[in-house]
């Protein structure tokens, strides 16, 4: 029922959304907001039972977006260029792959002295200012107005820079697919990078992302970021919990609320390739963006120096 109401709220206007909110207790997810405001998701970790319904729904709904590589792969030079082929391992669900954009991480922790297993859905965090998008050298990764970051498979060359600059190293590469095959497959590019696009096409159609719709426990809630942050704080206060994703990397659109500190969770989860951490993350884009402010001063300094020289020359008459 809740899902029906939420889905409807995507299609209706602000008034209808307000009614929906009151009825469903779900933060606004109005179509208007989907167009202009950044949408965020709140994940109440306590509710997740690790059933993987979200994982299955994600795979099913996004199957058409998954890579269909041509084999044999073109020989790439130099030899160190790694072939990343997941096409024969499409059933892997215990980590992120080009065919699995969401997985469940488990952590055994103590809550009130009792050993408890927590399960955490993990996927792209959809940063507010995503370095994967901003530093993509071709513009093939893009940030939608509603806060979704997605990689255009028709433009991506698979250089994996997005993965390198992502603090969680989320995107995964599949070799043998994409535009690089039509350019210089041996010398440049190496496939396409894949990651969660938060079902951007479903949201555009007024539907919920598959993982949210399929969840039997309503672990996730989607809505305008401000509302989601507010709700996350209320929830954290209510349960004496902790928040992750609000400030990480300068802010993300995936907000986790946990009954145990994320430091503890991070120690308890298995991390590594395709298995992102839960550590604090400083704003990756902050250093260069702060430096950018100096660009305003640079022309002024140049003009002042030249004007000073002119003044000195006019004074000495030379």
């Amino acid at each position: 029922m809740k899902n029906k109401i939420s889905r409807r709220s995507f299609l209706k206007g602000t008034m209808a959304t307000a009614c929906t909110l009151a009825a469903a207790g779900i933060p606004a997810s109005a179509a208007g907001a989907a167009d202009k405001e950044q949408l965020a998701t709140l994940l109440d970790i306590r509710k997740c039972i690790g059933c993987e319904a979200c994982v299955e729904a994600c795979k099913e709904v996004n199957e058409t977006k998954f890579p269909d590589p041509k084999k044999p792969f073109p020989k790439m030079y130099p030899d160190r260029v790694p072939v990343m082929d997941w096409s024969d391992k499409q059933d892997v669900t215990d980590r992120l792959t080009p065919y699995n954009w969401l997985f469940i991480q488990s952590a055994t922790v103590k809550i009130n002295g009792e050993e408890t297993e927590l399960t955490i859905p993990r996927r792209c965090m959809h940063c507010v200012n995503p370095p994967c998008v901003k530093l993509c050298p071709w513009g093939s990764a893009r940030l939608l107005e509603n806060g979704i970051s997605r990689i255009d498979p028709d433009l991506c060359l698979g250089g994996s820079k997005c993965k390198a600059v992502c603090p969680w190293h989320i995107p995964e590469r599949q070799t043998g697919v994409g535009i690089y095959l039509d350019l210089l497959p041996s010398l440049a590019g190496n496939g396409v990078m894949y990651k969660c696009d938060r079902c951007y096409n479903r949201i555009a159609d007024g539907e919920l992302p598959a993982c949210i719709e399929a969840c039997p426990e309503d672990v996730q809630t989607i809505g305008p970021r401000d509302e989601i942050i507010k709700k996350a704080h209320e929830l954290a206060k209510e349960i004496g919990g902790y928040i992750y994703g609000e400030k990480e990397n300068g802010g993300t659109n995936t907000i986790y609320v946990s009954p145990v500190p994320f430091e503890e969770l991070n120690k308890a989860i298995e991390t590594g390739k395709g298995k992102p951490h839960l550590q604090p993350v400083k704003n990756s884009m902050a250093d260069s963006n702060n430096l950018a402010a100096a660009m305003i001063i640079a022309p002024i300094a140049g003009v002042v120096a030249a004007a000073g020289k002119f003044y000195k020359m006019s004074k000495t008459g030379k």
């Binding site: 200012n129 513009g139 260069s288 430096l291 100096a294 660009m295 001063i297 140049g302």
Partner: protein
């Protein structure tokens, strides 16, 4: 006295020239470093060049030299307008290279704005900016090479 002044002027010109060349060199190096090529092609394996594969380092250095370039260009433009309009004449090669540098500055500044979270450029426009920036730097390098080979100068001094 005149000899001393000429010497100082010549020194200033040389310093400015080398400052500009160094800036263009590092901007080109770090600009290409923003693409995933230096690691693939072992360049980042050369001792001392490992930083070329660190994207956050290359973008930071790219920004630093962009600031320096903007300062140099602003200085040269104002200096020309205030003191050298009559004493030097910009050549065709100078105008072409100047236009390319201007194009690089404009597209570069737009890309810097784009990297701020407030920016809302259309995806197509961003791709256009990237392609322009890359094409212009290639043109600048070619034009520079052509000018070195055929001894084309940015300007020549007018005898008064």
């Amino acid at each position: 006295m005149d000899l001393k002044e000429n010497h100082i002027k010549s020194n200033r010109k040389t310093i400015m020239r080398y400052l500009y060349l160094m800036t263009v060199f590092f901007l080109t190096l770090t600009g290409f470093g923003n693409m995933p090529i230096f690691k693939r092609y072992y360049i980042a394996d050369i001792p001392g060049l490992g930083w070329l594969a660190e994207y956050y380092v290359t973008i930071y250095i790219h920004y630093l030299f962009a600031i320096l370039l903007i300062g140099i260009i602003s200085y040269l433009i104002i200096e020309y307008l205030l003191t050298k309009r009559k004493s030097i004449k910009i050549t065709l090669s100078g105008y072409i290279r100047g236009s390319v540098v201007a194009g690089l500055l404009i597209t570069g500044i737009l890309l810097v704005i784009r990297n701020h979270e407030v920016s809302g450029f259309a995806p197509g426009f961003i791709i256009f900016l990237y392609l322009c920036h890359l094409t212009l730097v290639m043109v600048l390098l070619m034009a520079g090479l052509y000018s070195v080979i055929f001894k084309k100068k940015w300007y020549f001094e007018v005898k008064q």
